[in-house]
Amino acid sequence: MKPTSTNFPFKAGALLGFLAMAVVGWNLAATSMPATKDPISREPTTRRAERGTRRSKTTGPGTLAGQKLDSIRAAGTQQARLSATIALANSLSPSEIAAWLEGGWFNIRSGPERILFRNILLARWRETDPEAMLVWSFKNDQSAAQPVLAAWAETEPQRLIEFFKSHPDPAAELRSLHSVAKAHPALALQRLQEMATEGMSSSEVSNSFSLFYLLAGKSPAALEAILDSLPMPMRNQAEAALCGQRLAASFATEIRALWDRPGGWEIFQSNLSQSPALRGKLFDELANMPPAWRALVAESYYYFTRGEEAKKWLDADLESLGFTAAQSKKFRAQALQGISYEQPEEAIKRMGEIELDANTRQNLISNMFSNLGNNPEKAEGLLALLTTEEDRKLAQSTLEARQIGQAGGKTTSPASWLEKVGGMDPKLAGNSSEYFQMLEQWDAGKISELSQQFAAMPDDTKQKAAQVIAAGRSYQSPTPFAGEAIRYLVVNPVARQEGESNSNTDPVQLASVYASQLAIKDPDAASDWVGNLPAGDAKLWAQKNMARNWAIYDPKAAAQWAAALPVEARSAVQAFLKKGE
């Protein structure tokens, strides 16, 4: 006999211990499982203090899709990963494709898998449900729609038209009808007629011109036959397009008809986009055209002095063609600009032949050098051709600004930014756009450093820098940094000569504009900023304008704020608000 009575509790305890620890082990295994089971928990987080209240839902089909990708990631070889990727793409039903593509659920980015997965889904979708694919691609990726639309336009135009009838998108339909018209002009014309009857917006009417132009070339008789059925704006487009085709076929006859026709100039202009060669043909008729048309050409000088025509205008004896000296000067300056893109050397050579005002000369040089940041050799060669020191300085500063712009301000420190900006002539601060665009690439830390360094600047250079920063605010939304500069100018106004007026230094105007812009963006910040201004005119006008602009979007809050002002300011601001209602 064995002593069962004494061993039983031990055995039972051992058994219970086994079971309890097995449970513990099971749970431990769960907690020590690799995070691959929960793609959300693996994601690098940017959560900080607010994580608890800010967390997004981590369940749903996207999470489940992540589980499928885990198995692909875990595959041992690339061949296995590709195989599993293709299998997954083939396994999804068409109804799931939109969610996978739109949700970006296939999130294996490195390697060839993502592009394979996407292309297979799009190919399968195109085969099984092209209409659904088109709806998706119009919203997310228009390039995916192009092969389907192009194929339908050629072989199934009616299907394309039906698609747009059930998914209206007049702008896209007009573009597609352009393709349809190449092989099926009658069908395209019929649909365009239907669209016109249903009603088109003015931009759609304008966009229909190129289609009318194509139809006017393909089947002018059919287009003429439906003119009376079109609403007037569409009819005007169609008639202009028919006229455009006649201009292309027989310019000398048709242009004379337009000279005598009301609205002839507008018809001619609308055809320029379809047929740029008309510019050259019009040039050849300059001596024959009526004075009213010559005046219209002179008004639109920038249209005609482009591309191949630029040199013709530069060389022509414009005065003897009937243009005034002032008009001829404009043509030549613009023509010089026109050739400077393709032939900068020629443009520089001929700059001396033409009388150019300072602004035009500056623009010309800036344009020529602004695209040469990546081509130092060419820039060097062109610099050597410039004849004055002033021109060379301008070209060099353009190149420098361009390089800074290309580097996105990465290499510029807050100290050197302030040094550059502080060294500028405040009157020419409007040319400092690169420096303010650069700030858009800086993060909050770097901007904060800039603010600190600005605050620590000595007064003599600080006032100059503040003027440039205040003038440059127009390149940006109202930033706190600009607010600091403007506040400095309110506290330390720039001394003005008698009679001089400059909105870039006038404290009343600077404060009012800034407070108004900030009120639209962030009324609480605007009210703090205005509250910190020293008492005086600048503060009162800033208060008035801030309240008026605040009231555009939140009239109650603006009225409450005004009601809480000290009594003198309150009545002035309330009266100002009332006047603006």
Partner: protein, 522 residues
């Protein structure tokens, strides 16, 4: 005696722990083992689904690795395809094809008319997977010589780059482009290995495919390397983690600027994504956001959603809005959403809009000081778009609404705006409408657009006739002679001279013609 049972308890407890751990791990391991391929998985038709891959029921999901069964296609069969089925079938076939088979397919495909780059990419992605040097040798000296270099980076960016630098410097740019496209992680970690002159090539393709895996890292990399901002990548971040996207906006305040009032600013992208993918988060975000532009945009995104789910509630909300500017925006949105489907409702919305905003939709910043009146910006809140759409539907009905919109409606800019647009689009119908008006006040105000259009068409004498029939004719006449004088000073001066205008007016208008003509010739 007492030691043995204690050891037994301890031993069995340890065994239990091990059993528990092992059992669960085994279950987990078995779940990621490779399962047998299913025939359904290879079908490319829409109904093909392998068991256990549905995403509708979590219980059915098992993270099994489903592989593709061998393809039964042949080179000839694939070369005969030219529709959308080619890509999936070729992708499946290439996985099991030998290098000579891939070479044979390429030999046939390279001469295909209208060949497609994504098919060429697919061939070389698989060829370089097996033998990059073989693929490079196969196309060396042809116009396609860059494809294998680019494709090689999909598998081994390090080796592709090192080989290009040492043996084929002309291909370094192509390799860099491939790295940008296929290897963003590698690029972020190894940018310094790419020669400086070729980095822009890598940057150019970096954002092509977005990055739903590490969007924040990619955005930071773009910023650090002055590659600008990419809204697709930002959308990827917003989809993955809207709060991280919001943090990114806060850390980069300039991105909050919407200088051009576009509809795809970073904030717009975030809000649209939240509204679609994380609507609950958007509601919470609005509650946490202080008043201002950002909050307005958030509320607008919620309103847009409400309009699609409960239009009646959206109308009620628009009617209850305090700010005229916001109310106008809401009426315009409701109207635009119903122009095609329910024009009566669209006209109702136009009526509401005109009643609160007969002066038009001015949301520009307005500044007034003793020395200046200045306005800037102002977003298009959709009201102009709605009015234009309704002019195309029934301009007379819209004009009627504009004339009845308030006590001073005829002087308001909305009336003038609608009249000018209508006259510009269809002058004949507009003049017919004007002629039908019996109220002299409406007629007088409606004449201006007729005069203006006739002037634009160069029909100056007809324009003068219309101008003279209006009580406001003098202003119109000055405008006619100003325009006519610019275009044709001789003809306009002759007309004035021979007209029956009073001597005073003759002198006035000749003076205008003279001045504008001189100005035009300067």
């Amino acid at each position: 005696m007492t030691k043995t049972p204690l050891l037994l308890i301890l031993g069995l407890s340890c065994a239990g722990l091990l059993c528990g751990l092992t059992a669960r791990r085994m279950l987990q391991d078995s779940a990621i083992s490779i399962s047998a391929p299913t025939s359904a998985a290879t079908k490319s038709n829409g109904d093909a689904k392998s068991p256990g891959t549905t995403i509708s029921n979590p219980a059915k999901i098992a993270p099994v690795l489903t592989l593709l069964p061998p393809s039964t296609d042949t080179v000839e069969a694939l070369l005969a395809l030219n529709d959308a089925t080619l890509y999936p079938r070729l992708a499946a076939w290439l996985l099991g094809a030998s290098e000579p088979e891939i070479a044979a397919y390429w030999d046939g495909y390279r001469a295909v008319k209208n060949r497609q780059n994504h098919i060429v990419d697919l061939v070389f992605i698989n060829w370089t997977r097996m033998n990059p040097q073989g693929a490079i040798a196969a196309v060396a000296g042809t116009k396609d010589d860059f494809f294998p270099w680019w494709a090689w980076t999909a598998h081994d960016p390090q080796l592709a780059l090192a080989t290009a630098i040492s043996t084929a410097p002309k291909m370094v740019d192509r390799v860099a482009r491939g790295i940008g496209r296929f290897q963003p992680d590698w690029l972020r970690a190894n940018l310094d290995q790419i020669p400086e002159a070729s980095r822009s090539s890598a940057f150019a393709t970096f954002k092509d495919l977005g990055d739903t895996e590490h969007p924040l890292e990619s955005l930071k990399f773009m910023q650090e390397n002055a590659m600008g901002f990419d809204s697709k990548l930002f959308k990827n971040l917003a989809q993955k983690d809207p709060w991280a996207a919001l943090d990114w906006l806060k850390e980069n305040p300039s991105l909050q600027a919407d200088r051009y009032h576009s509809n795809d600013s970073p904030l717009d992208v975030l809000l649209e994504t939240m509204s679609h993918d994380h609507p609950d988060d958007l509601e919470r975000l609005v509650a946490q956001t202080p008043p201002g532009e950002m909050k307005r945009k958030m509320e607008a995104a919620i309103f847009d959603k409400l309009l699609t789910t409960d239009p009646a509630a959206a109308i009620a909300q628009a009617n209850a809005t305090d700010s005229k500017a916001i109310a106008a925006e809401r009426f315009a949105k409701i109207g635009l959403s119903s122009v095609r489907t329910d024009p009566d409702q669209a006209f109702e919305m136009a009526k509401a809009l005109l009643a609160i905003n007969p002066g038009g939709s001015d949301t520009s910043v307005r500044v007034e000081t003793p020395k200046m009146h200045w306005s800037m910006g102002g977003s298009d809140n959709g009201s102009d778009e709605l009015l234009t759409a309704l002019i195309a539907k029934d301009p007379a009905r819209l004009m009627q609404l504009a004339t009845e919109s308030g006590p001073n409606s005829l002087n308001a800019s909305a009336f003038s705006n609608i009249a000018h647009k209508w006259a510009n689009q269809d002058l004949v119908t507009y003049t017919n409408w004007v002629n039908q008006q019996t109220d002299p006040a409406i007629r007088d105000h409606a004449f201006g657009p007729v005069v203006n259009e006739l002037v634009q068409l160069g029909q100056y004498t007809e324009a003068i006739e219309w101008a003279q029939s209006s009580k406001m004719g003098e202003g119109h006449l000055m405008s006619v002679f100003y325009q006519w004088g610019r275009k044709d000073p001789t003809a306009s001066a002759a007309w004035v001279e021979n007209s029956d205008l009073s001597p005073v007016n003759k002198t006035r208008f000749q003076e205008i013609i003279k001045k504008t003509s001189q100005h035009n010739h300067e």
